[in-house]
Symmetry: C2
Subunit: 292 residues, 2 copies
């Protein structure tokens, strides 16, 4: 069998280092991104540029996508220049984007009709996880397809788990984001309470970080809030996107999740108030300024 | 100086092992509890029984209290048979109960008038922390008083921190409970979402327990929820008490904490629906049965 060709579409903060790891493993790699300058590092490492998703589709055996919003996913998969229409029979399409579970199902079904296989594979672990290839990858799709791409996924991720059929990866990521939302609200409200009660919040943290209140959010984002470091580890606007996908899915399932509903409302206000480019920990600013 | 005498009032799930550790350290210990049978172990270990808080007050140099609700604290401190009226000048009063910060301030001030010293010292770590003497103790009061009793506190706790003046221990505990509430809502909503989405929630946990969604609640209470083990590690009715204290304090400070408000509403419904004797993880049942 001739050497396979891998495609990678979307070379942002996450995609660029992920594509870099795949290229570094020795695979032939074709890349496309809306902004070509973002491809420089991976092109320097030996990847080849293609001018459109269509060109990627026509030449690759496995194609990864890592873009921003569900509408970007729709365009790349379903546009006239897109993967579903242009990929060769047998190609495996892997979407790393955190996106709508129902869109993942639609991609899978449309791919199937054209003799392609598709899996959804959203990740967690952020830009650091992408750089260090320690991402968690939550996969939905067919077992056989999963087994074929698993060695490639393990190049960029440390915890790679098939969670079920098409969409199951996205649903697992949504469960993850829901837990994050609760922990983040617990963190910010604990700090706002402590501050208003006249405590030294940093000192109060010493008493609460290691017990039943312990969380990644409390350990990592509480100090940033108190140091007024609101730089994006994870953009508020992207978190709002995720919360909306989760809430839409919950509505479709007729499940009431009031904490998620509250989180979506608060992050919508953050983004409306111009804080979408700040990190999720900037919810502390929203509480400081007042929620009304 | 003659050997000092320690008093301990309230020998429930938490108080009994804590008193046991103090007795085991060699201190002369007088105990009182509403239900005498709960004193058996510590009496067997050499503690002495007294028939009322008044008797304890009259004979002790340091008095610990660990009771249920703020009204119990009020009775023991301010009743005609209580500590404030009956303690000898110079006695130090230490309340381990999780109670109202404003009540802690009132105890401190009333104690002061009578030549006594009082500190609030609520704990976290649960019955296991009490048994293993690994509790976190959050202290509010005067530095000098704190230093005097710190060696005794370190007999029952591992992390013993003065957080500020009178009431600061209670406020810190409230911040702790607020963070717990957020993490618990994140945990239950993530699981309810996962289940309704058709995932295997236990399998989904494998993908989310170690990242940004990580929390003590997710690691410890999610498995209990899924195994339908609703035995109390921490009683829902006690958590509701704590949430109400926190919410009352927030209202008094004119701080809006919507996640805390939501948590109080959900736990109030749990207790109303007869689930007060179950553990906090039984909030999973509330979500299963519907929140309306």
């Amino acid at each position: 069998m001739a050497q396979r060709t891998i495609g990678f579409i979307g070379l942002g903060v996450m995609g660029a280092p992920m594509a870099g790891h795949i290229r570094a493993s020795g695979e032939r790699l074709l890349v496309y991104s809306r902004t070509k300058s973002k491809a420089r590092l991976v092109l320097d490492a030996g990847a080849e540029w293609r001018d459109s998703p269509k060109r990627i589709a026509q030449e690759c055996d496995v194609i990864f996508t890592m873009v921003g919003y569900p509408k970007d996913v729709e365009e790349i998969y379903f546009g006239s220049d897109g993967l579903i229409e242009n990929a060769r029979s047998g190609t495996i399409l892997v979407d790393f984007t955190t996106s709508r579970p129902d869109l993942a199902v639609r991609i899978y079904e449309s791919a199937k009709v054209r003799g392609l296989n598709a899996i959804d594979a959203p990740v967690s672990g952020g830009d650091i996880g992408a750089k260090n290839a320690t991402l968690t990858i939550m996969v939905g799709g067919e077992e056989e397809t999963f087994q074929k791409v698993k060695p490639l996924l393990e190049i960029v991720g440390r915890t790679v788990i098939l969670q079920g059929g098409p969409g199951a990866g996205q649903h697992t990521k949504m469960a993850n984001q829901i837990a994050v939302a609760g922990n983040l609200l617990g963190t910010v409200e604990a700090l706002i309470y402590a501050k208003n009660a006249g405590l030294d919040p940093k000192h109060a943290l010493l008493s609460i970080v290691n017990g039943a209140a312990q969380s990644w959010q409390l350990s990592n984002n509480a100090p940033r809030m108190l140091e007024r470091n609101f730089d994006p580890g994870f953009y508020s606007k992207h978190f709002l996107k995720d919360l909306r996908i989760a809430l839409d899915s919950a509505h479709a399932m007729h499940v009431e999740l009031p904490m998620l509903t509250l989180s979506e409302r608060l992050f919508a206000k953050m983004v409306n108030d111009g804080m979408g480019e700040l990190g999720t920990q900037a919810i502390y600013l929203l509480y400081e300024r007042g929620l009304a």
